[in-house]
């Protein structure tokens, strides 16, 4: 075909210009793909953190603001109402961490019935504290307690076993033993985080004490990178039965978090609004709004990728398109006599325009190939050099900042809730997706088309009489 022959010859003749335009497009395309990959990497890192904290299937979490803290010195100022006695007292206190309020378990069913909700599960995040309250006699000068008075704490999650795919436990992978199942709902069985198990020397079959009650360890579980805030997972009903809070003997029919799965991503906003209407005093948080609450270098990277990166890519792309267009128009201007001659030979304008366009499109395809290669290079550099990012998020959305627990008036203060916020380290990897490569090819060809359109427009307007009268 003559057009292809002519095309090949012209591209080879103007090799330097072809290479310059293709490289210009390649740089723009390479930047777009690299930044897209970096953005996807940041998004994946965010998702990894959020899913690890709240479970892979969780789209929305519901929590309640805690009741106002009691005034110092009031009868309720102590969470546990402890007073040093004549003897040392061994305590095993299972209670809510500060900063969380309670929701009725009936709300779980109400939320589950909302349109767009596929499942809802309750959860109870507790803290188990083991400490020795020293006798009044053992207090040092000025009431200073001995070292044994400081509590050891473990975090305990009550898991709704009717919906094991929702909540933090959904992300846990069984390392040994087995997972918790629906038949365990009323049993004193526990799954223990692998790090905690290693620290405490626990294995499957070990016994642990939670709230003065013996639990049998049935599984050792491992949370994915960046997640897994709880040390111990037990059936929700057992957690409710054993926990105490603000004078309540137990937390039967209470949860502190409801995990919700929406039918699909597009319904999350609507479901969020429905829940807010149903539970006006609750804090309703989606993954998207939670992502906004992430702080740390991951948030910085996300901001950099979303703002500076996006604009840099757009500017580079516009510059590449502009350079390609200008060079193509300039090339057409240099070929005025050639095109004029072809028109004099009887070539229609459309055929001349097709020639210019096809040269530009081939240049665009070359740019796409080079751009994808550059993108892989850029992504490889990011993956090699990217530092480990840290992300800090609220352990339970809507929870208040960590509070101190006062043990009576003896002057013993200890921050119990270390996990009101959660900081994790994630290594960012920038994935190049097929979509990004297809986007790159489309953009490069679009760049070629735009450049070719300008050149073609110039060629179409060319009057042969002017072209032939031109002296070169």
């Amino acid at each position: 075909m003559f057009l292809l022959l002519y095309l090949r010859r012209e591209l080879r003749r103007r090799l330097r210009q072809t290479v310059v335009i293709a490289l210009g497009l390649a740089v723009g395309i390479g930047l777009v793909v690299t930044i897209t990959a970096a953005t996807a990497g940041v998004r994946n890192a965010q998702a990894a953190v959020l899913h690890a904290l709240y479970g892979i299937g969780t789209d929305i979490t519901i929590t309640m603001e805690p009741p106002p803290p009691p005034k110092p010195g009031s009868p309720q100022a102590s969470d546990f109402g402890l007073t040093p006695g004549a003897k040392d007292q061994q305590l095993d206190l299972l209670g809510l961490p500060p900063g969380l309020g309670l929701l009725d378990e009936a709300s779980v069913a109400s939320v589950a019935r909302l349109r767009g909700v596929t499942a809802a599960a309750g959860g109870l995040s507790l803290v188990d504290q083991k400490l020795t309250v020293p006798s009044a006699a053992s207090l040092g000068p000025g009431g200073k307690p001995p070292a044994s008075a400081f509590p050891t704490t473990s975090t305990v999650d009550g898991v709704d076993l009717t919906h094991p795919h929702l909540g933090p436990f959904a992300s846990a992978q069984v390392g040994s033993g087995r997972s918790l199942t629906a038949t365990d709902a009323g049993s004193n069985v526990a799954a223990v985080d692998s790090s905690y198990a290693a620290t405490k020397g626990l294995t499957v079959g070990s016994t642990i004490i939670i709230g003065y009650t013996k639990f049998s360890v049935v599984g050792i579980v491992r949370q994915p990178r960046g997640g897994g805030s709880s040390d111990i997972y037990i059936p929700l009903a057992r957690a409710q039965a054993l926990a105490k809070f603000k004078g309540l003997a137990n937390l039967n029919d209470k949860v502190d978090t409801i995990y919700v799965a929406a039918a699909n991503a597009s319904t999350i906003d609507a479901v969020q609004k429905e829940i807010a209407t149903l539970l006006p005093s609750a804090t309703v948080t989606s993954s998207a709004s939670l992502a906004n609450a992430v702080t740390g270098s991951l948030a910085g990277a996300a901001s950099l990728a979303n703002q500076l990166g996006r604009w840099l890519a757009i500017v580079a792309l516009i510059a590449a398109f502009a350079v390609a267009s200008l060079l193509t128009v300039a090339a057409v201007a240099r070929r005025v006599r050639e095109f004029g001659t072809l028109k004099a030979l009887g070539w229609r304008s459309s055929r001349v325009v097709a020639q210019v366009m096809s040269e530009s499109i081939v240049t665009g395809i070359l740019g796409a190939v080079a751009g994808v290669a550059m993108a892989f290079g850029g992504v490889s550099v990011i993956n090699t050099l990217a530092p480990t990012l840290s992300a800090t998020v609220a352990q339970n959305p809507g929870s208040a900042p960590p509070q101190n627990v006062s043990l009576n008036d003896s002057g013993m203060h200890r921050q119990v809730a270390q996990g009101a916020t959660h900081t994790v380290a994630v290594h960012m990897t920038a994935p190049v997706t097929v979509t990004a490569i297809v986007l790159a090819i489309i953009l490069a060809i679009a760049g070629g088309l735009i450049a070719g359109s300008f050149g073609g427009w110039r060629a179409a307007r060319l009057r042969p009489v002017e072209a032939l009268g031109r002296v070169e």
């Binding site: 003559f2 022959l5 004099a344 009887g346 070539w347 055929r351 032939l468």
Partner: protein, 230 residues
């Protein structure tokens, strides 16, 4: 072949109007060899462009083969040009990236001739100008005379009714010029072409049966021997 009636062509140059042709009346018969002479800027090339349908007159009519080129749409004029009008240029105007054969082939592309037939016609055209053995050479590998022969082959490969040549020997040395003139004369006689040449070249003028002169946009016939190709 051609009938020009009251053809006037005005150009705007800056704020000035230039009359390149002023009411030209001219008949060109089938198979005629007409040379148009005149000073530079006198309107010779403008006349050639109007004859070739590359430009339209400001006023007047140009009838080619019974069709008024001035009233036809551009696409139709392009088709007429592709099928019936051959062009030769002073600077040869060959496409530098294409070989001699491919340059000749370019004239057949708009006619939709099949590849095999196209190649046969190209080979014949190059043979007729004595360049059968230079078919694969690029223009840069050919002499000026050879390039103009390729130009002639390109103009004639489609077997046009008329060949319009703008200073075809202007860029050639004396020997080559004579070669080209002889070649054109031979082809004119053999193919019964209508040949319209714009030139300053007295050697061509001496051999042409009919000579017109343009002065200040006005055309007059200076010589008419009535000789037709034998």
């Amino acid at each position: 072949m051609y009938t020009l009636t009251g053809v006037t062509k005005n150009y705007r140059k800056r704020r000035e109007t230039i009359e390149a042709l002023r009411g030209v009346d001219l008949d060109i018969a089938d198979g005629e060899w007409l040379v148009v002479q005149g000073r530079t800027g006198g309107g010779k090339s403008t006349l050639l462009q109007i004859l070739g349908g590359l430009d339209r007159p400001t006023r007047g009519t140009v009838t080619f083969d019974g069709r008024d080129l001035t009233s036809l749409p551009e696409s139709t004029v392009t088709r007429v040009r592709a099928a019936s009008i051959g062009f030769m240029f002073q600077a040869f105007n060959l496409i530098p990236t294409l070989t001699a054969a491919e340059n000749v082939e370019a004239a057949l592309v708009p006619l939709g001739v099949k590849v095999e037939q196209r190649r046969a016609q190209v080979a014949g055209a190059l043979d007729s100008v004595g360049l059968g053995d230079r078919a694969r050479h690029l223009p840069s590998e050919l002499s000026g005379g050879q390039q103009q022969r390729v130009g002639i082959a390109r103009a004639l490969v489609k077997q046009p009714k008329v060949l319009l040549a703008d200073e075809p020997t202007g860029n050639l040395d004396e020997d080559t010029r004579d070669e080209i003139i002889s070649l054109l004369e031979r082809l004119w006689r053999e193919q019964h072409l209508t040949l319209v040449l714009v030139t300053h070249d007295t050697a061509i003028v001496e051999r042409a049966p009919r000579v017109a002169e343009i002065r200040n946009g006005c055309l007059s016939i200076r010589q008419d021997t009535g000789t037709q190709p034998s």
